[in-house]
């Protein structure tokens, strides 16, 4: 991997620069480090940073920009008549990339020589057969325009990477030389290095903002694409969810309401399990339990929060589902048809949320000042009366915040519903029926083999957007409530 070596070379240049910078500064000061403005290592770091930072920034930017540039150049090369009906430029480009990859790998394996990979013509030799023989994935016959584009793609890409390597090494050397030139005994190396590190710290902190921007951009752009193909009103108010599998669009019903209903129904069942259990557990742990019981029961309950959701999903699918089916199925009460149902997913999700509710409520109940309890006891109230009439009302905003956070968890939960809730989207009140959720459909729409540009795949981004907005609102409200409440007693 040339990139790996390139990074290594830059690091070596930086390391050499460090040594040179350090010794040059010391030499300048006549070997007496007291004559220097900064500690000797700062002169070294100054050189190393000036060699590394610009080079790595350049590498990252280059690696991001080059594919875009190459794509636009190559896709301009593809004649319009190659693109058949029902296909798109993007699909042909994917084909080109696959062919180019195949050629690369074939050359690497030694099946093909570079000469053949560069100049072979699909109308003379059967390139697709050669590629297949080399164990490369070739979906369709490689036609001449595609092959030409693929060859050009390889050449442009390879040249781009060559230029990048040269520029990177030159930049690293230039940075080193520049930094060495300015290295003198009175050079304020520490200040410069600290300024640089400060900038790096700011950059690291901005990654959180970048992530949010990335999420928003990827959701907004694709949702926009989706709404160009499918009317927004049908998406938001449609009562029917029935994507077609042809990938051609037009015949699909993509209404979000059944999915939202499924999501809310499952979340309500989950909260109906988690809130009473979690709340009472929190009350018992903070008000009644002896320190010993508390130190055992609290971590045990919190284990439930540390278990990965895939485990809960499997638990729902293989343990809880069959168990419920035995009780409520045709052999029992006859309410349930299959193991995957709202009840199954809701119950298991509720178990997952218990520690979430209990830990947060526990913290909040503990934050209620002891003076309020003492006042209540002084008036002759029993402990439970104190809890019900003084502690809980005082802690209520915080508890509501905790429940909202748990609700946002429930809405965004994926694995339990993918495995436990079923795949049919319906608007029904029966909790023993299979229903599906927004998250489960995001997974199924994006892991199927629908074309990426079809509304059937793009709808997943609109669903993701809905989910993101929903959970964001819940989180903001919850955090606001919790924060406001905390200020009250501190």
């Amino acid at each position: 991997m040339p990139l790996f070596w390139l990074i290594l070379i830059v690091l070596v240049i930086a390391a050499v620069g460090y040594m040179l910078g350090r010794s040059r500064a010391l030499a300048n000061a006549g070997g007496d480090s007291r004559e220097l403005h900064s500690l000797p290592s700062y002169y070294g770091w100054n050189v190393a940073l000036k060699a590394m930072v610009p080079t790595f920034v350049l590498l990252i930017v280059w690696l991001l920009v080059q594919p875009l540039y190459v794509n636009s150049v190559i896709s301009g090369m593809i004649p319009a008549n190659v693109i058949d009906d029902g296909s798109s430029r993007g699909l042909v480009m994917a084909e080109v990339r696959r062919a180019a990859n195949g050629l690369d790998n074939a050359v690497a394996q030694g099946v093909m020589d570079e000469e053949f990979a560069r100049n072979a013509r699909a109308d003379f030799t059967d390139v697709s057969q050669v590629l297949k023989d080399a164990g490369q994935i070739v979906t369709t016959e490689v036609t001449q325009p595609v092959l030409r584009a693929a060859q050009r793609y390889r050449i442009v890409n390879a040249t781009g990477y060559q230029i990048m390597s040269i520029v990177a090494v030159v930049l690293a050397l230039a940075g080193t030389l520049f930094a060495l030139r300015e290295t003198r005994a009175l050079f304020r190396a520490r200040n410069v290095v600290e300024l640089g590190i400060h900038a790096l710290l700011v950059g690291a902190a901005s990654i959180a903002v970048l992530t949010t921007v990335g999420i928003l951009l990827s959701l907004v752009f694709n949702t926009w694409e989706f709404f160009k193909l499918y009317p927004a009103s049908d998406f938001f108010f449609g009562l029917n969810w029935a994507p077609s599998f042809s990938g051609r669009g037009g015949s699909s019903d993509l209404g979000v309401l059944p999915l939202l209903w499924g999501t809310f129904y499952i979340s309500i069942v989950a909260l109906a399990v988690a809130v009473p259990i979690g709340l009472f557990a929190a009350i018992y742990l903070s008000e009644y339990a002896s320190p010993r019981i508390r130190s055992i029961a609290k971590p045990l309950l919190e284990i439930l929060a540390g278990i990965p959701t895939i485990v809960y999903g499997l638990f729902a699918l293989l343990t809880v589902g069959p168990l419920l089916l035995k009780v409520f199925g045709n052999e029992g009460l006859g309410w349930m048809q299959a193991g995957t149902a709202v009840m199954t997913a809701g119950l298991v999700m509720g178990i997952m949320l218990i520690p979430f509710v209990s830990s947060l409520s526990d913290d909040i109940i503990n934050a209620v000042p002891q003076a309020m309890r003492d006042g209540s006891y002084g008036l002759g109230a029993t402990q439970s009366e104190t809890i019900r009439q003084v502690v809980i009302p005082a802690a209520l905003p915080g508890i509501v915040g905790a429940i909202l956070l748990a609700a946002s968890r429930a809405i965004g939960e994926t694995m339990i519903v993918v495995l436990g809730a079923g795949a049919a989207a319906r608007l029904s009140l029966n909790p023993f029926e299979a229903m599906t959720t927004v998250t489960a459909k995001i997974v199924s729409q994006l892991t199927g083999d629908a074309d990426f540009a079809s509304p059937e795949a793009l709808v997943a981004f609109a669903l993701g957007m809905t989910l993101f907005v929903l959970t964001l609102c819940l989180n903001i409200i919850a955090l606001y409530i919790v924060r406001k409440y905390r200020e009250q007693y501190e």
């Binding site: 902190a205 439930l304 278990i307 029993t382 439970s384 981004f461 993101f468 989180n475």
Partner: protein
């Protein structure tokens, strides 16, 4: 004053403290009930925990064993020459094996009728295995060689209770008469359960071979992913925390970052999957289902966790340390990097391990970047290839098995969960030990 009270004695008490009246009894009963609710809630929670673990262990344990047939087999040079001269060489070998097996059963005074087809249903293509062995080790000819042959997944299922005589329907995979043979072999102690290393070290198998499926390749995939997460999210997370905790001025930009971090911590994981799909795969054309992409997505997810715990441990270092450092002439940067950071390191490490454990079990984002449904048939060849070659990861592998139609994969999925939980447990225990050992209270 006293006189007044003497003159007006209090009205005779209608109630006595010694005797609880109805109202007190009611209130005391309510108190007891309330307490009981709390107890019940905790016990319910613990009950769920127990059920979860019991069902994991009960259903997962069989994945670690497999049914094998142990036969000591001797091949003479003549037999080998005769077999090699025949047209169907492997058939000749399996005939020899059948004769040997029959001999073993007769030694113990049992006689069961079986033919080559039955052996193939039970053990697969025995002849080929034997021939391959003798081709590889020609010295073994003439010596007794103990062979351990894996039984087919249906026979395995018969042992583990998935298949029984009542529900079995004769098919080309297993017939009722084969079970008689299995019972006879068991009585002769030829067939038995053995620990299955294939499950721990092996790679995934195709949909038709549950017996050969292993989680080893997925563990390697997860390992490379965690490496990416560690290398990216630890330095970036620590740098971001240092900035926010030690250097950030009170302004709008800082507020924006703070709000972003607390929101990112609560964004559903599947949204990160969408981000990964759109940015890393659609936009940057990184290879699908590569641990590199999975690691990038999980790094972004883990960052808020690491930032939050790092900030907490930086905050726990008392200001006097910084003041002392500044007082002897250190710059602010030196105070932070030379004094505060080393003192906060155990807390940062603990937070990082917990963040990694979270990332290790995360599944939903991996579904979207194509790590599911991919049959990881082997280990990556080499260190760099480990990042870029398609591979699976532990939770994705478990999901793949759970989604397969054949019920014998479920056992593998549970087994995979045991391994995943073992990793998580180890990481959490390390975190707890680190915290216990190095935590300082100021």
């Amino acid at each position: 004053m006293t006189d007044a009270s003497m003159d007006n004695p209090p009205p005779a008490r209608a109630r006595s403290l010694r005797q609880a009246d109805a109202n007190t009894r009611r209130r005391n009963a309510a108190e007891k009930r309330f307490r009981a609710y709390g107890m019940v809630a905790i016990l319910t929670g613990l009950f769920f925990l127990t059920v979860l673990f019991v069902s994991i262990i009960r259903s997962g344990a069989p994945a670690f064993t497999r049914t094998v047939v142990n036969v000591e087999f001797t091949l003479t040079q003549d037999q080998m020459d005769a077999a090699e001269s025949e047209l169907f060489k492997t058939k000749a070998y399996s005939n020899l094996f059948i004769a040997a097996l029959q001999g073993k059963l007769e030694e113990r005074g049992m006689s069961v009728e079986f033919d080559e087809a039955a052996i193939e249903r039970l053990l697969g293509k025995v002849g080929g295995t034997l021939r391959a062995h003798y081709k590889e080790f020609p010295d073994d000819v003439g010596k007794p060689v103990p062979f351990e042959l894996a039984a087919s997944s249906r026979v395995d299922g018969y042992y583990k209770g998935r298949v029984n005589r009542e529900t079995l329907q004769d098919s080309r995979f297993l017939q009722l008469s084969d079970l008689d043979l299995v019972d006879a072999l068991e009585e002769a102690q030829i067939i038995k359960q053995a620990f299955s290393w294939t499950f721990i070290t092996g790679a995934d198998s195709g949909v038709d071979n549950p017996g050969g499926a292993g989680i080893g390749a997925a563990v390697v995939g997860s390992f490379f992913m965690m490496l990416v997460v560690l290398v990216l999210s630890l330095p970036i997370g620590v740098a971001a925390s240092i900035y926010l905790e030690e250097f950030a001025p009170q302004n709008r930009f800082t507020d924006l970052i703070e709000v972003n971090i607390s929101n990112l911590a609560a964004v559903p994981s599947i949204v990160f999957g969408i981000l990964g799909l759109a940015v890393f795969i659609q936009f940057m054309h990184l290879p699908q289902s590569a641990p590199l992409v999975g690691g990038l997505v999980l790094s972004l997810m883990t960052l808020p966790t690491i930032i939050i715990s790092t900030r907490a441990s930086l905050k726990a270092v008392p200001p006097s340390i910084r003041d002392a450092a500044l007082g002897v002439g250190a710059s602010k940067m030196q105070a932070v990097f030379h004094h505060v950071l080393p003192l906060a390191a155990p807390g940062i490490l603990t937070g990082t391990i917990i963040g990694l454990a979270q990332a290790l079990g995360e599944t939903a984002p991996l579904l979207l970047i194509g790590m599911v449904g991919f049959v990881a048939r082997g280990y990556p060849d080499g260190f760099v290839a480990g990042f870029t070659e398609p591979n699976s990861a532990m939770p994705a592998q478990i999901y793949t098995w759970a989604a397969r139609a054949d019920a014998s994969f479920y056992e593998k999925a549970w087994g995979g969960i045991i391994i995943l939980l073992a990793f998580l447990l180890t990481m959490n225990i390390i975190a707890i030990i680190l915290r216990r050992r190095f935590e300082r209270r100021w």
